[in-house]
């Protein structure tokens, strides 16, 4: 059993899941906004990175890790609300290219501002989880306390978001506003407020993701810390279907595993090529996403 659990394929699966839950969180964050606003938030990673700087560097540099994390998430939610009210609100109903250009521009501005304020050198976050793999019968299991912390946190965040959408009145309003904005308004749903709340939730998820990424001993926090993760999360969201939160999880984790096998058995440098290849193939075969149900007839 121990030999199996520490074998090369199982190690790849474990490492893949650890990477994949992060892609899944990024994808979920994108899906939350796409569903309600039909907008791709290219600045998602950068906004989350800023939130992490605000929590861990600007406001609570000497605080306990968990306190700083909460501050980062609150900051993330605020950044989301401000972005929606201050920038995105002016983009609704514009030609499709306008939001894309605006959000890419916003991404560049945020990364430059972060570099100007906090410099580009990497900072470690004081997470108390060891990045050293557990041992099984003298051989390393491809899972560390830190990796377990990432996986558990990601699952908790996803469960929390799913719970809001499925079991609360707010969730019902959020879903209604996304599916049928005009009918929702006639029933008294304040659709504009729902859009803002969608951004708050998405940016909160983003902030948790960025804290996890920056807590990684090997990367740390830099202005561009989220770029790579965002690219894979974006691909996961596009493959899974931008309308499907469950698809975000499934395709994020699958992508993580597939890419880890590529990295291990083929070549680590081919990972991004394979990811883009998968994206192209999936967009050709199922342009609405692998996990999106075929368009239901609206009544």
């Amino acid at each position: 059993m121990n030999a199996f659990l520490t074998s090369r394929p199982v190690s790849d699966v474990l490492t893949g899941v650890t990477n994949g839950v992060i892609y899944a969180l990024v994808a979920l964050s994108l899906v939350l906004i796409w569903r309600s606003a039909r907008l791709l938030n290219f600045a998602q990673g950068a906004m989350a990175m800023i939130a992490t700087y605000v929590g861990f560097v600007a406001i609570a540099p000497h605080a306990n890790y968990w306190v700083a994390m909460v501050v980062s998430v609150v900051a993330g939610c605020l950044i989301g609300a401000l972005t929606e009210r201050g920038l995105v609100r002016w983009l609704y109903g514009k030609p499709e290219l306008n939001p894309v250009v605006a959000m890419v521009g916003f991404l560049l501005v945020l990364e430059s501002v972060a570099a100007a304020i906090w410099s580009t050198s990497s900072r470690g976050l004081p997470s108390s989880f060891s990045p050293i793999d557990w041992q099984l019968g003298g051989r390393p299991l491809a899972l560390s306390p830190f990796a377990a912390y990432e996986i558990v946190t990601a699952l908790v965040v996803m469960g929390f978001i799913a719970g809001i959408f499925r079991f609360t009145k707010l969730g019902l309003r959020l879903r209604a506003a996304a599916l049928a904005p005009e009918v929702s308004r006639l029933l008294g749903v304040r659709v504009n407020r729902m859009l803002t709340i969608g951004w708050i939730l998405s940016s909160g998820v983003g902030a948790v993701t960025a804290v996890l990424v920056a807590s990684n001993y090997f990367t740390g926090l830099t202005p561009t810390a989220m770029d790579g993760v965002f690219a894979f999360g974006f691909i996961a969201a596009a493959i899974g279907g931008l309308d499907s939160p469950g698809g975000a999880l499934a395709s994020g984790v699958t992508l993580g595993i597939v890419l880890q096998f590529v990295s291990d058995y083929v070549n680590a440098n081919d990972v991004i090529l394979v990811a883009l290849g998968l994206l192209i193939v999936s967009l050709m075969v199922r342009p609405n996403g692998v996990f999106t149900r075929d368009a239901q007839r609206r009544v």
Binding site: R173, A180, L186, L187, G188, V299
Partner: protein
């Protein structure tokens, strides 16, 4: 009493309503008849706040509705069941109703039961996706979803659209009952003039955005000359 005062609406250069004026009293059904493009749907959309008028106003018991957002107007007691019914197919029957009950402060449970008593078929299908309902059931759901908020005014846009004659007759009958038992003000927009005139107290006939008649329903039904306007057979 809901009142519409010299309401004019335009979409760009196209004038959809021209100085439309009428009143709809509580406990009465006011039918709005007219051919395609007469402005019937625009009229309801303006009352519920989805469309802003160029001129004129809508008032409800002394309060001006014009200029308010739809989500505020529904809180003042105006429920609009849109054309094509607006049932959310991805939601279950019960989720649709819960959404309608959201603006009430009291717990949703008794409100839901009340609607299930009124429309038993909805109670039987409460866990089903709304997409699985028949046309008549969807219309019931749309009505129940509007009624669950206990409105004072009910705006119905083409409720008989796509329904079999039998179902239409039942539906019209229940609209009549609801209106009388709850002192509801009903504004009923219909292409199916015959069905609407049978249950309406008053009828307003729109032609190219103008009111060409506003009279008791029996009078409008008898008036041969008016028929051309709402049956859409005027040569223009």
């Amino acid at each position: 009493m809901i009142g519409v005062e010299s309401l004019s609406v335009a979409y760009g250069a196209v004038q959809a309503l021209r100085e439309v004026t009428f009143e709809a009293p509580p406990g009465r059904i006011t039918a709005v008849l007219g051919a395609n493009g007469a402005g019937k749907t625009t009229l309801l959309r303006t009352i519920s706040g989805l469309v802003a008028p160029r001129e004129g106003r809508v008032h409800l018991g002394g309060e001006t509705l014009t200029g308010r957002a739809p989500e505020e107007i529904v809180r003042l007691g105006v429920a609009h069941v849109p054309e094509g019914r607006g049932v959310i197919g991805e939601f279950t029957v019960e989720e649709n109703l819960r959404l309608g009950a959201m603006i009430r402060r009291e717990p949703a449970g008794p409100l839901l039961e009340e609607q299930y008593a009124l429309f038993p078929v909805l109670g039987e299908r409460r866990r089903q996706g709304a997409v699985t309902l028949s046309g008549g059931e969807r219309q019931m759901l749309a009505m129940a979803r509007a009624l669950i908020a206990r409105p004072r005014v009910l705006l119905l846009d083409e409720p008989s659209l796509g329904l079999a004659p039998m179902v239409t007759a039942q539906l019209m009958h229940s609209i009549r009952d609801l209106c009388a038992s709850r002192e509801l003000t009903v504004i009923l927009v219909e292409q199916n003039a015959k069905s609407a005139l049978r249950i309406a107290d008053t009828a307003v006939v729109l032609y190219l955005g103008r009111v060409v008649a506003n009279a008791p329903a029996e009078e409008v039904a008898r008036d041969e000359r008016l028929r051309q306007y709402y049956l859409g057979m005027v040569e223009s």
